[in-house]
């Protein structure tokens, strides 16, 4: 791959990652958000693939395949199952309205850009220059978890954060060791499973997965 094509495709993938992250914050329909998560997983795998081609690193190919399998297929599938059980197609009322949360997102992205400057300055390359995107994803994921009520949205936020960590790792050091990455993701997988059980329980008890309902548990 030529240098120009490498930069071009890297930028494209990174732009796509950012786009999907922001869209997750913008849209309220959970089904669409899960679809975005799939896209993001694929893009992330693509990012790993591009880096693999560029570095010629066979281990990275494996990572790309693993990411595709886990984030592009397995995790969204679990989420979809959670959604299929209920009719909670939309995030009814986020704690922060869409306009404010988007503005917050803008600030978070700029913030991510500002804090990653020193890192970029350490080793300027096309990949590290895209670092702010990975960091933004982490921030946005965190914000998503803070600002949403539904358990499913929180899981989405968690996954977005994880994707962000992965993207940052790929961009910063052309990939963390495979074991670490898989380990982290495995942790996440467990969390998702736990949350799924939890949401199922909650639905049985309260008929919906609004986390604010959990407050009722305290008094009884």
């Amino acid at each position: 791959m030529s240098e120009a094509a490498y930069v071009q495709s890297l930028n494209l993938v990174v732009g796509g990652l950012l786009l999907t992250a922001v869209l997750m914050l913008w849209w309220r329909e959970l089904r669409a958000i899960v679809r975005l998560l799939v896209a993001q997983g694929v893009l992330l795998a693509g990012l790993a693939g591009i880096l693999a081609i560029q570095e010629g690193d066979s281990q990275l190919y494996g990572v790309a395949a693993g990411v595709l399998l886990l984030k592009g297929i397995a995790l969204p599938a679990v989420l979809r199952r959670v959604l299929r059980d209920g009719r909670e197609a939309t995030e009814s009322e986020p704690l922060v309205n869409a306009a404010s949360s988007l503005l917050a997102a803008a600030f978070l992205i700029l913030f991510a850009y500002a804090v990653s400057r020193p890192l970029v300055a350490l080793a300027p390359s096309p990949a590290t220059r895209a670092l702010p995107v990975g960091l933004s994803m982490v921030f946005l994921g965190f914000f998503l978890m803070i600002s949403r009520r539904r358990a499913v949205s929180q899981v989405v936020g968690f996954l977005l954060m994880d994707n962000g960590i992965a993207a940052t790792a790929f961009l910063a050091a052309a990939g963390v060791p495979l074991i670490v990455e898989l380990g982290v993701s495995l942790d996440l997988f467990l969390i998702v499973l736990v949350l799924q059980v939890l949401t199922a329980r909650m639905r049985l008890k309260f008929g919906g997965t609004d986390l604010d309902d959990l407050r009722q548990l305290r008094d009884s």
Partner: protein
């Protein structure tokens, strides 16, 4: 057939008796004034289901100073019936809190009460005057949107006055009776059969509902028994009417949130149904099927036709609700609580969507088969609930039709009328679950067999006051949607 109990009450007793009846799960279905030789007579009809009960209170007042005590404080609909009586008969409800004109617009001549038998020819009208006393909302920045009587779509005439700040509706007042033609008066003196075409045109989309309620009332008054197959056919056409109207509403609701493609599909299905109607009765709007003393149907729809319609409607409803914008705009819009429904006496799908289950097919059946109709209710009271109730009723209606069609036979089924009239003044009541809700007719037939008085109550009359109540927290651009979710008849209200 249930028995009506009739009691004459004094002005002093009226309120107490009313309160007792309302507490005993009755509702005020109809109030009608009559002009007898010896003065005015006001009849209050209360009805209740499980079992079918109908109670009439009669109040007499003299013809020189016709006055009755107001029931406005006890029953909201009574207050409106009283205003209507005042306009048409000049009977004054004493101490009514809001004794404004209702039926007669401001330019109608003073002191001319058109329903009185001695009203005489119409005096000259005053020049049109806009001084209707709409309540002025106090406060800076409030403006009023006058809408109608000529609306921007293909809509019947009525005037809405919104008091608004920006997009937030603070208050809505609907002014109706633009299409008041005088149907009740026109029917007087006609033989029941001659009056039937008029009843089919009370509200064009409720031809069966009104003609059937009228026929039931006349038949009760005259003691006319109807052949069983005719009753069955009447139930069939009643459901066909429900079908074509509900599918149109489902499409129109989608159209009002800008999802026009589903409206196109709904209109296509309605056209199929209208053509089916033409095959069944010879008229696209099902006119001519219900006759005094019987019914006539050319051919019956097949189960396959109905199943196809039911499937398509289900598909459209599903497509609508799968669109998150549509769902979002329906959900939580224009909430009407069950309490408000009971207080204003709302009927039909409006009431059922708020969890109040009035259904004359079950509560006041004219054929036993209809009592088994499955109740479709919702408790949310929003536009979504009214949409879903309609969607559910389409399926329930098809199920009921399948049941009815198993025994129905086409053709003309007519019984001979009674050979001898039973008395001087015979009265009858007809209660029918039209597609909008319970249609109530009360007729009195004179000794000559001609109609002495017909009182018509379309469910729209009861439901109109519920519309402003539902608009509590609604923005202006949602109004057309809300209005469509009620879809009230202006013609049926104005008469």
């Amino acid at each position: 057939m249930s028995q009506r109990t009739r009691t004459t009450v004094t002005a002093a007793d009226l309120a107490d008796r009313t309160v007792a009846l309302l507490a005993d799960s009755h509702r005020l279905a109809l109030t009608a004034a009559h002009q007898d030789a010896d003065g005015f007579r006001v009849v209050y009809l209360f009805t209740a289901g499980h079992p079918d009960r109908r109670v009439e209170l009669e109040l007499h007042t003299d013809s020189h100073t016709p006055e009755i005590p107001t029931l406005a404080a006890v029953s909201f609909p009574a207050g409106r019936f009283e205003r209507e009586m005042r306009d048409l008969y000049g009977i004054v409800p004493l101490h009514h809190p809001l004794p404004r004109r209702l039926v007669r617009h401001q330019h109608w001549p003073r002191g001319w009460y058109p329903m009185r038998s001695d009203a005489g020819p119409r005096p000259a009208f005053e020049p049109v005057d806009d001084s209707y006393g709409f309540l002025t909302v106090q406060g800076r920045g409030v403006y009023e949107i006058p809408v109608g009587p000529i609306h921007a779509g293909v809509i019947e005439p009525g005037h809405f006055r919104f008091s608004v700040v920006g997009e937030t509706i603070i208050k809505l007042k609907a002014r109706l009776w633009f299409t008041h033609k005088g149907i009740e008066k026109l029917a007087e003196g006609k033989s029941p059969s001659d009056a039937l075409p008029l009843m089919e045109r009370v509200s064009g989309d409720t031809a069966v509902g009104h003609s059937l309620a009228f026929c039931l009332a006349v038949e009760e008054a005259l003691g006319w028994s109807v052949p069983e197959p005719a009753s069955l056919l009447r139930a069939v056409v009643l459901e066909l009417e429900r079908l074509y109207n509900h599918i149109a509403d489902i499409g129109a609701l989608c159209n009002d949130v800008g999802f026009g493609v589903l409206n196109a599909h709904a209109l296509r299905i309605r056209e199929q149904l209208l053509r089916l109607n033409a095959d069944v009765t010879g008229h696209r709007l099902l006119r001519g099927a219900v006759l005094v003393g019987g019914a006539t149907v050319r051919q019956l729809p097949t189960a396959a036709q109905l199943a196809a319609v039911a499937a398509e409607v289900a598909e459209i409803v599903d497509l609508a609700l799968r669109n998150s914008t549509v769902r979002d705009r329906f959900t939580g819009t224009a909430l009407l609580s069950a309490e408000q429904v009971r207080d204003v006496g709302a009927l039909g799908y409006v009431a059922r969507a708020s969890g109040v289950d009035h259904d004359a097919r079950r509560d006041h059946p004219f054929h036993n088969a209809t009592t088994s109709v499955s109740a479709v209710t919702d408790v949310r009271g929003d536009v979504l609930a009214r949409f879903l109730v309609r969607a559910g009723e389409v399926q329930a209606s098809v199920a009921l039709l399948n049941l009815l069609l198993a025994e129905a036979r086409s053709g003309a089924w007519l019984s001979e009328g009674p050979q001898q009239l039973m008395g001087e003044r015979m009265s009858g009541v007809g209660l029918v679950e039209g597609w909008r809700g319970t249609v109530a007719h009360r007729v009195e037939v004179g000794a000559d067999g001609r109609l002495a008085r017909v009182k018509i109550v379309d469910p729209s009359f009861m439901n109109w006051p519920a519309l402003p109540l539902a608009l509590g927290d609604t923005i202006v651009p949602d109004f057309p949607l809300v209005n469509k979710s009620f879809n009230l008849s202006y013609a049926g209200n104005d008469l």
